[in-house]
């Protein structure tokens, strides 16, 4: 689809230094919208969650949602920002049908929070991302362009607008430009968004469901020749809506821009669209013919002066943040930071933690989530957390193994049943008859049969070639379809073959 010339990624880095920047929009999980009482529930029938205020009907006025303001300030605090003692909303004026008032109520030169930072780790190295500002605004409605090839407004037959989303509180988190990441720039961008997402989850301010558009990223990328003192012209790729896409968007823009620069071309400062299918970007509106937004303080809302004591209370009441929590868990679980990084990348920290809380040892919990379960998630192309098994069930599985009720092989079969919705591990073991066989008549018979069926092997063992016993154990396991405990079988065979 993309006809852009691209330079090989490794080659880009031989000539250029990337600078990235991210603007992240987070829909807060408040019950009601930013400036009215309408519900924010996702997926309702179009235009059923609207009122005169969020439709911008003549005469209507906004009333700010106190919970949203508190959430925005808590996000600022979690990012180590300075909280303004005086803050205001502003109007950003432009014409587009999805903004019902002809302006978006946002914050301009007086945001709630400024000057924070977020440390992210990529391959054992820490990158400090400076946060420029955290501010609160309202979301726009959603346009649906009907007809036409692109799904965009140009070429469409007609357009429909759903204002259910209009007025949902949105926190915008803007980084300062991030230089110096070099080849790691795509991963740093991704790791930043992933870490931010963890923080937002820990704060409980948003569900952060990227697939529902709770978290949307605008990715800025520029390239400068290595050694250059000035940064290059940046592009802004809009609405990059998954962690993987953030990484791909940075990578693609680096490769595209390098090709343009190599050809002696000039990067146009513009917004670009990201295409999930191809991982490419294409030009949107050019900033060089950009709108003058004519920002001015919103006269319909009074300035907000967060009380210092109140802010201190909010800061004191912040939950343990993900980085601190990971440090603590690493210590508690006795694992190295790199192993913790694997858990983070796999999205398994919470799962392991919950599994430990349900009684499993940290080692067992990690083994299952990073091993068998990670493999199954990968096969099914889903996130770990999306597997139909709970941490409590994994802990139960571990306990069954520990008690000798099942062995690892039976545990995998038990897991099949759990994932198939057949119930808890204990229930699956019972219904599928997966419990390890004790020294039952059936097992004695199977041992006898194995010796009788393999007389030469039995003879070797009797003759002192103890390692040959493995073949007999295998035979017993086969006849019992894995239900026997290998150690038990081995002991029984030894007793039979080596006793005088």
């Amino acid at each position: 689809m993309s006809t852009d010339k691209l330079v090989d990624f490794d080659e880009v880095l031989t000539r250029y230094e990337p600078v990235i920047g991210l603007e992240t929009h987070v829909e807060l999980g408040t019950v009601s919208k930013m400036f009215c009482g309408c519900s924010t529930t996702f997926g309702a029938e179009p235009n059923t969650q609207t009122c005169p205020v969020c439709l911008g009907l003549p005469g209507s006025l906004p009333a700010a949602n106190a919970v949203a303001i508190e959430s925005a300030i808590r996000i600022g605090l979690a990012l180590g920002c300075r909280i303004a003692t005086w803050s205001r909303f502003s109007r950003k004026n432009y014409f587009y049908p999805d903004i019902p008032k002809g302006f978006q109520t946002t914050q301009y030169d007086e945001p709630f929070s400024t000057a924070g930072h977020l440390d992210v780790e990529v391959d054992g190295e820490t990158y400090r991302v400076e946060i420029e500002r955290v501010h609160l605004e309202e979301d726009t409605g959603k346009n649906l362009h009907v007809g036409g090839a692109t799904g965009r407004i140009h070429g469409a037959d007609h357009s429909l607008i759903d204002y259910n989303r209009a007025g949902i509180p949105l926190v915008e988190i803007v980084t300062r430009p991030i230089p110096g990441a070099g080849a790691k720039a795509p991963e740093v961008a991704k790791a930043y968004v992933a870490e931010l997402r963890e923080i937002l989850l820990a704060l409980g301010v948003s569900e952060v469901k990227m697939e529902q558009g709770n978290l949307r990223c605008d990715v800025n990328v520029s390239l400068a020749p290595i050694g250059s003192l000035e940064w290059g012209t940046r592009t802004e790729t809009k609405n990059v809506n998954s962690l993987r896409s953030v990484e791909r968007a940075v990578r693609f823009e680096m490769r595209r821009q390098a090709a343009v620069l190599d050809d002696g071309g000039r990067i146009v400062q513009e917004t670009r669209h990201f295409h999930e299918d191809t991982g490419s970007t294409s030009p949107g509106r050019s900033k060089e013919e950009a709108t003058d937004y004519r920002y001015f303080p919103e006269p319909d809302l009074v300035p907000i002066a967060p009380d210092e004591e109140w802010v201190e209370k909010l800061a004191a009441a912040l939950p343990e943040l993900p980085a601190a929590r990971r440090t603590r868990l690493s210590e508690e679980w006795g694992i190295a930071p790199t192993e913790m990084a694997w858990l983070v990348n796999a999205g398994a920290v919470e799962l392991v933690s919950d599994t430990v809380a349900a009684g499993a040892t940290p080692a067992d919990a990690r083994k299952w989530w990073l091993g068998e379960l990670a493999r199954r998630a990968n096969d099914a192309n889903v996130e770990l957390a999306e597997l139909a098994v709970t941490p409590a069930q994994v802990a139960e599985l571990v306990a069954l193994v520990g008690a000798g009720t099942i062995n690892d092989q039976l545990a995998r079969q038990t897991l099949d049943g759990v994932l198939a919705g057949e119930g808890s591990p204990t229930e699956v073991v019972a219904s599928r008859g997966l419990a390890v066989m004790g020294e039952s008549d059936e097992l004695v018979a199977a041992v006898d049969a194995a010796i009788e069926g393999n007389p030469d092997v039995a003879e070797k063992v009797r003759g002192g070639k103890v390692q040959a016993i493995g073949a007999l154990v295998g035979a017993v396991m086969k006849t019992t379809r894995g239900k026997a405990d290998a150690a038990t079988v081995k002991r029984m065979l030894e007793a039979r073959l080596t006793a005088g």
Partner: protein
């Protein structure tokens, strides 16, 4: 005493309602008067007689008639959003729009049991001083049909002065209640900014707009004000404080004792060295009023407020700037007019055509002015600077109120001017608001009360008070009103017009 219900003050109508006159009778009397006179005056944009009579019958049946405001008719400026009742703000762009909700002002009047007579004409989006900017025709001044009734609340002023409503709601951004009240012989009060909810007033300039009463007497105005005022959580700029007692202040003021009241006459508003553009008749009427206050015991002195000279310039940057943003929502997408949506044009063209054909010239002038003033690179020089001037004006008020209790001035430099006289000269038109702008910019309350006639036309006297001291405006205005009424020996200022009406008929 006249038995014509439409020539009575509201306190008299309350007595009549308590005494057995039905709300239906009263409403019918006004509807008859509208029928007879509005063809000429054109005060109303929308009247629904059946709905009004049905509402009156409902009040009659409900048993509240005669208590408070129940059963009393009222007219609303068409800037006030009314559920199910067409609301245009005087603009073509909202032609046919029936709002799905009530403004807080409308809801409170409804809850008080009033009967909506209709929606009154106005300058488009409240931008104007003569009602000549209405997209629906000019309203005439009942005192002289060839003259303007003031603006932008000219429909409301003409309706009340002409006996087509006992009282009405107006809105005031730079003088749009006080100036038309002055030019038609009414009492009009602009409340402290934030003391009457703006929820449901179609916004012109958000930091200035206030709704308020326009009435035949000071007491009537106070009664209407009390019904609409007070905190409203739907308006974030609404002040969360108890409303001062206004009707009682008016009654007390009518006693005429102003001993100890310190009155400042603003030099910059028609005083020495600042008389350019002020008519002699206006200045002498105002001078007479000041003398009357003094005679009632007030301590009068002259006060200088130098920043007031800059009010006009600041206002014509701030108000258009906010308006340019407030009016952006009229894009033809969701409601009202839509032009050119025939499948051949794209969205931007349809929006542009709608706004081109939907807005009148004065509205476009102000949108362009405001858009320019907010533009990047010009913001500091225009909008930013105007806000600083606004601060200076507020400081002048604060300094003045350290020495005096109220400030007074003419409400307007001239009496009502002839229709058409200033339409081609916006600066001359803007000058009509010279005296009312400072109180608007500072957010302080100000009342206009008639103080006499000049060349047979009403002259208004403006009394300004510190923020939240609206009761002081009512008290002083009532004292002056009572003294002047006693001088004339009638029941109120409008009796002079009724006499004329009677003799003309």
């Amino acid at each position: 005493m006249s038995s014509d219900l439409t020539a009575m003050n509201v306190d008299e109508l309350q007595a009549a309602l308590a005494d057995g006159t039905t709300s239906v009778d009263l409403t019918q009397a006004y509807l008859d008067r509208i029928d007879a006179a509005d063809g000429e005056l054109r005060a109303y944009l929308h009247v629904d007689p059946e709905a009004a009579l049905a509402r009156a019958a409902e009040i009659d049946a409900g048993g509240t008639r005669g208590t408070g405001l129940a059963g009393l008719p009222v007219a609303l400026k068409d800037v006030v959003v009314t559920e199910g009742v067409p609301t245009t703000s005087g603009s073509k762009i909202l032609e046919g729009w029936k709002p799905p909700y009530d403004a807080t002002v409308a809801a409170r009047l409804k809850a008080a049991g009033t009967v909506l007579l209709g929606k009154t004409n106005m300058d488009e989006f409240a931008m104007g001083s003569s009602t000549e900017n209405s997209a629906y025709g000019v309203t005439r001044n009942p005192w002289d049909l060839d003259r303007i009734p003031g603006g932008s609340s000219g429909g409301s002023s003409a309706a009340v002065a002409g006996g087509l409503a006992p009282w009405a709601i107006g809105t005031d951004t730079g003088g749009s209640i006080r100036q038309p009240a002055a030019l038609t012989g009414l009492v009009g009060h602009k409340p402290t900014y934030g003391s009457v909810s703006r929820y449901g007033l179609i916004a012109f300039s958000s930091s200035l707009d206030q709704a308020g009463p326009m009435a035949r007497t000071v007491l009537d105005a106070a009664l209407l004000h009390e019904a609409i005022g007070g905190h409203d959580p739907l308006d974030s700029t609404s002040i969360d404080a108890p409303q001062p007692v206004l009707a009682e202040a008016a009654r007390r003021g009518a006693g005429g004792d102003l001993a100890g009241l310190r009155v400042g006459v603003v030099r910059e508003l028609g005083g020495e060295g600042h008389t350019d553009g002020y008519e002699d008749g206006v200045l002498s009427g105002v001078g007479g009023a000041v003398s009357r206050l003094e005679a009632m015991g007030a301590d009068v002195r002259e006060i200088s407020c130098p920043a007031f000279d800059l009010a006009l310039a600041a206002y014509y940057l701030i108000a258009p700037s906010e308006a340019s943003s407030n009016l952006a929502r009229f894009d033809g997408v969701r409601y009202g007019l839509r032009i050119g949506d025939d499948g051949s044009r794209d969205l931007d063209e349809v929006m542009a055509l709608t706004r081109e054909q939907g807005f009148g010239p004065e509205v476009k002038r102000r949108i362009i002015l405001g858009t320019y003033a907010l533009s990047s690179g010009y913001y500091d020089a225009y909008y930013g600077q105007a806000q600083k001037v606004r601060t200076l004006i507020s400081r002048d008020f604060s300094a003045a109120f350290e020495g005096v209790d109220v400030l007074v001035s003419p409400t307007t430099p001239t009496v009502a001017f002839p229709i058409g006289a200033r339409v081609d000269d916006p600066i001359a038109m803007y000058a009509a608001d010279l005296c009312t702008l400072p109180a608007s910019l500072a957010g302080v309350p100000a009342i206009s009360v008639p103080c006499g006639l000049s060349e047979g036309l009403p002259v208004g006297f403006q009394i300004m008070a510190p923020a939240l001291a609206d009761d002081r405006c009512y008290r002083v205005a009532a004292a002056l009103e009572a003294a002047l009424t006693a001088d004339r020996g009638d029941r109120g200022f409008l009796d002079q017009l009724a006499t004329r009406r009677g003799s003309a008929a």
